[in-house]
C-alpha cells in the first residue's frame, strides 16, 4: 500500500507541473496588474515602468515562470532600472514553498492571503459536504428501497430539477424567499450576506446562521446528483445475489440495507464523491460571491480581476494539489472498504 501511495504521489508531480505551465501561460496574458494599482487614478507612467521592473513583470514569460517555480534568490536583479542587476532576488519559488507576494495585498505572501480564507471556505465545504452525503444517502437509499413508489417518482423528479438548477438561481431564489419574503411576512428571516453580524461578533451561532443559505445553495446540485447515483447504485446492489442470501438468512431489513447493501454500494459512491469533493470548490466561487462569504472563491474573483498572479496561481495550484490528494485518498478509502483490493 505504501509503495502504491508513493507511486501515486510520484505520478501526481508531473501532472501538477503540467497544470502549472498551462495556467501560467493563461495567466500571463490576463490583464495588467499594475493598471489597477493606481486605485481610482490611473497609475502614472513612470511608476508603471518602475513597478514592472521591481516586480519582475518585465521579464519574458519563461523567466517569470522559472522565478515563480524556482525563485530568484540565486541571481542578481535590477531594481533601479540601469539594466544591471545589483541585489539578489528574494523569492524562493514554489518548489521551496514560496508562492511569491501578492500584487494586490502588497507585502503579504500569497500563501498567507490564501491561508486566511481557507478556513472560511472549508467550513462551508465541510458543512455542505455533510449535508450532501447524509442527505443524498438518506434520499438515495430511501428511493431505492421504495422504487417506483410515489415518493420515489417525486424524489426523482425533484432531483432532476435540483440537478439542473444553476447555483445562482438557487441562491437568489432562496435569498428572496428566506430573507426578503420572510421578512416581509414578519417571519424570522435568514441573513444573506457575510459570515457574521459584526454587531454580535463572530460567534458560532452567527456563523451557522449565516451559513444556512450558502450551504443550501452549494448542496442542492450535488445532493440531487448523488441521490440519483446512490439510488441507482443501491438498486443494483439490492439486486445482487448476496442480498438475496442475506434475506434468505432471515436478517432484518435494516441490517440487510445498511450493512450488506450499503457497504457494497459505498464503493462506487466513495469514488464519485471523493473525486468530486475538491471540484465542489467551483461552486464556492459563485456562492461566496453572492453571499459575500469571505472565502477562497471570492478571493479568487477579486484577485483575478486585478491580475494578481501569485495569489491566483496559488489558489489554482492548491486546488490541483487537493484534487490529486483526494484521488489518492479515494483510492486508499476504496482499498480499505474493499477487501478484494486490500488483499489482492
Amino acid at each position: 500500500m505504501t509503495r502504491y501511495i508513493l507511486h501515486r504521489i510520484l505520478q501526481g508531480i508531473p501532472l501538477l507541473f503540467f497544470i502549472s505551465i498551462i495556467l501560467f501561460v493563461l495567466m500571463m496574458n490576463m490583464g495588467d496588474p499594475i493598471a489597477t494599482m493606481g486605485g481610482r487614478t490611473a497609475t502614472r507612467p513612470a511608476d508603471r515602468e518602475r513597478l514592472k521592473r521591481q516586480l519582475g513583470l518585465d521579464k519574458p514569460i519563461v523567466v517569470q515562470y522559472f522565478y515563480w517555480l524556482a525563485g530568484n534568490d540565486w541571481t542578481k536583479i535590477d531594481l533601479d532600472g540601469d539594466g544591471i542587476g545589483e541585489t539578489y532576488g528574494e523569492r524562493k519559488g514554489v518548489l521551496r514553498g514560496d508562492f511569491g507576494y501578492s500584487l494586490v495585498n502588497r507585502g503579504k505572501p500569497a500563501l498567507a492571503v490564501i491561508g486566511e480564507r481557507i478556513p472560511n471556505t472549508l467550513i462551508l465545504m465541510v458543512a455542505a459536504e455533510l449535508v450532501i452525503i447524509l442527505g443524498s444517502l438518506l434520499v438515495g437509499v430511501y428511493s431505492a428501497l421504495h422504487q417506483y413508489s410515489f415518493t420515489d417518482h417525486f424524489i426523482t423528479t425533484l432531483s432532476f430539477i435540483g440537478y439542473s438548477m444553476p447555483i445562482f438561481f438557487i441562491a437568489l431564489l432562496s435569498m428572496y424567499i428566506f430573507a426578503v419574503l420572510f421578512k416581509r411576512w414578519g417571519l424570522p428571516y435568514l441573513p444573506t450576506v457575510g459570515m457574521f453580524d459584526p454587531q454580535v461578533g463572530k460567534t458560532a451561532g452567527q456563523v451557522i446562521l449565516h451559513m444556512i443559505l450558502p450551504v443550501l445553495s452549494i448542496s442542492v446540485i450535488s445532493l440531487a446528483a448523488y441521490s440519483r447515483y446512490i439510488r441507482s447504485t443501491m438498486l443494483e446492489v439490492m439486486n445482487q445475489d448476496y442480498i438475496r442470501t442475506a434475506k434468505a438468512k432471515g436478517l432484518p431489513r435494516p441490517q440487510i440495507v445498511y450493512i450488506h447493501a450499503l457497504k457494497n454500494a459505498s464503493l462506487p459512491i466513495v469514488t464519485v464523491i471523493g473525486l468530486d469533493l475538491p471540484l465542489l470548490l467551483g461552486g464556492a466561487v459563485v456562492t461566496e460571491r453572492i453571499f459575500a462569504w469571505p472565502g477562497m472563491g471570492r478571493l479568487f474573483l477579486d484577485h483575478v480581476e486585478r491580475g494578481d498572479l501569485p495569489v491566483v496561481m496559488g489558489i489554482l495550484m492548491l486546488i490541483s494539489v487537493a484534487v490529486v490528494v483526494f484521488q489518492i485518498l479515494t483510492d486508499i478509502v476504496y482499498a480499505w472498504l474493499d477487501p478484494r483490493i486490500r488483499f489482492g
Partner: protein, 333 residues
C-alpha cells in the same frame, strides 16, 4: 402417508409485471415435502422452479413480482400471509436456502465469519463468541480445513467449491427443518459437484432435515431424491417417486429430458424422445397444453384445454392428455 407434510404448497401463482407485459412465471402449482424427505424439482432454465421456491421463501422482488394466488402451509402457518417480521423468523431458522452461484451469493465485503454468525446472532440469543465457536464447528462440519483461521477471511479468498461449502454451513447454521438447494452444483466443476452432493446428503442424514433440491440435471436427482417434480413453463407436468419416474416417464417432456440423459447402466430399450423447438414465451398466458408446440404427440384437445395432473399409478401424477405408451388420447379425466 398420514403424516402432515412439512411444507404444503397449493395452487401457487406467481407473476412479474414488466413494461412489456406480464410474465406468467408460475401458474398454479401444488406440491408438498414431508419431514426428512428429499424432493427434487427438475426442469429447464426458466421453467419457474426457482421462482416457485423463492415465492415460498418470500424472496420474490416486489415489484415487479407478485404472488397472485395460492398458499404455502408450514406448520400451521400460511407463509404467504405472514408479516415480514414473522417471515424473518422462519427464513434461515426454519427454512434455509443454498443458491446456485457461490461466487456471487456471498457478500464480498464481509468476512465469512461475520456472514455466518450474523444469522445466529439474529435468530438465537447468543453471544458473539459463542456464535464464532459455532461457526467454526459448522465450517469444520462442511469440511473446510483450518476453520478457525479462515473465519476472518473474505469470500474472494476461497475457491468456488469452498464457497459453496461456506454457503451450506451458513444455511445450516440455525438447524433448519427444510433446506432448499437451488441448483447448488451447477456453477461448480464436475468433480466438486459430486463432493457437494455427497456433503448435502450426509448432512441431511445427520440433521434429519427435509431437502428440496432444484436442478436441471436428472443425473443428480437419481442419487439423492425420494420424489421428483418435473416443471415446464410454470406448470408441474409430472410428479413421481424417483424410481417410478426413471422407470416409466409419462410426460413427453420428461421423456425428452430422460432421453437427453446418457444412462449407460440402463438396460431397457426405450423409444428415443427428443424435444424440438424452444420453451414458450411466458409473456403470453398459454391456452391449452404449454408443451403442445414442441410435442410430437399433440392432439386437438391439447390446443384448447390445459391438462390437469392426474394419477396414473400410486404417487405418480402427470399432466398430459396423451398416454405416451400408446400415443392415444386418454379418455375421461
Amino acid at each position: 402417508m398420514t403424516k402432515q407434510p412439512l411444507l404444503d404448497v397449493k395452487n401457487l401463482v406467481t407473476e412479474f409485471i414488466i413494461p412489456e407485459g406480464i410474465v406468467y412465471a408460475v401458474n398454479g402449482i401444488s406440491f408438498n415435502v414431508n419431514p426428512g424427505e428429499t424432493l427434487a424439482v427438475v426442469g429447464e432454465s426458466g421453467c419457474g422452479k426457482s421462482v416457485s421456491m423463492l415465492s415460498v421463501m418470500g424472496l420474490i422482488p416486489t415489484p415487479p413480482g407478485i404472488i397472485v394466488d395460492g398458499e404455502a402451509i408450514y406448520g400451521n402457518k400460511n407463509l404467504f400471509k405472514l408479516a415480514e417480521e414473522e417471515m424473518e423468523q422462519i427464513r434461515g431458522k426454519e427454512i434455509a436456502m443454498v443458491f446456485q452461484d457461490p461466487m456471487t451469493s456471498l457478500n464480498p465485503v464481509l468476512t465469512i465469519g461475520k456472514q455466518i454468525t450474523e444469522a445466529l446472532i439474529c435468530h438465537f440469543d447468543i453471544t458473539k463468541n459463542d456464535a464464532r465457536d459455532r461457526a467454526i464447528s459448522l465450517l469444520d462440519m462442511v469440511g473446510i480445513p483450518e476453520a478457525r483461521n479462515r473465519l476472518d477471511d473474505y469470500p474472494h479468498q476461497f475457491s468456488g467449491g469452498m464457497r459453496q461449502r461456506v454457503m451450506i454451513a451458513m444455511a445450516l447454521a440455525c438447524d433448519p427443518h427444510l433446506l432448499i438447494a437451488d441448483e447448488p452444483t451447477t456453477a461448480l466443476d464436475v468433480t466438486i459437484q459430486a463432493q457437494i452432493v455427497e456433503l448435502v446428503l450426509q448432512l441431511k442424514r445427520q440433521k434429519d432435515m427435509a431437502v428440496i433440491w432444484i436442478t436441471h440435471d436428472l443425473g443428480v436427482v437419481a442419487g439423492i431424491a425420494d420424489r421428483v417434480n418435473v416443471m415446464y413453463a410454470g406448470y408441474i407436468v409430472e410428479e413421481a417417486l424417483v424410481d417410478d419416474l426413471y422407470e416409466d416417464p409419462r410426460h413427453p417432456y420428461t421423456c425428452g429430458l430422460l432421453g437427453s440423459l446418457p444412462r449407460v447402466d440402463h438396460r431397457r430399450e426405450r423409444k428415443l424422445c427428443s424435444i424440438p423447438g424452444s420453451p414458450p414465451s411466458l409473456l403470453v398466458k398459454p391456452v391449452g397444453c404449454p408443451f403442445r408446440p414442441r410435442c410430437q404427440y399433440s392432439k386437438e384437445i391439447c390446443q384448447f384445454e390445459t391438462p390437469k395432473l392426474r394419477e396414473t399409478s400410486r404417487g405418480h401424477h402427470v399432466a398430459c392428455w396423451i398416454d405416451i405408451q400408446s400415443g392415444e388420447q386418454i379418455s375421461g379425466s
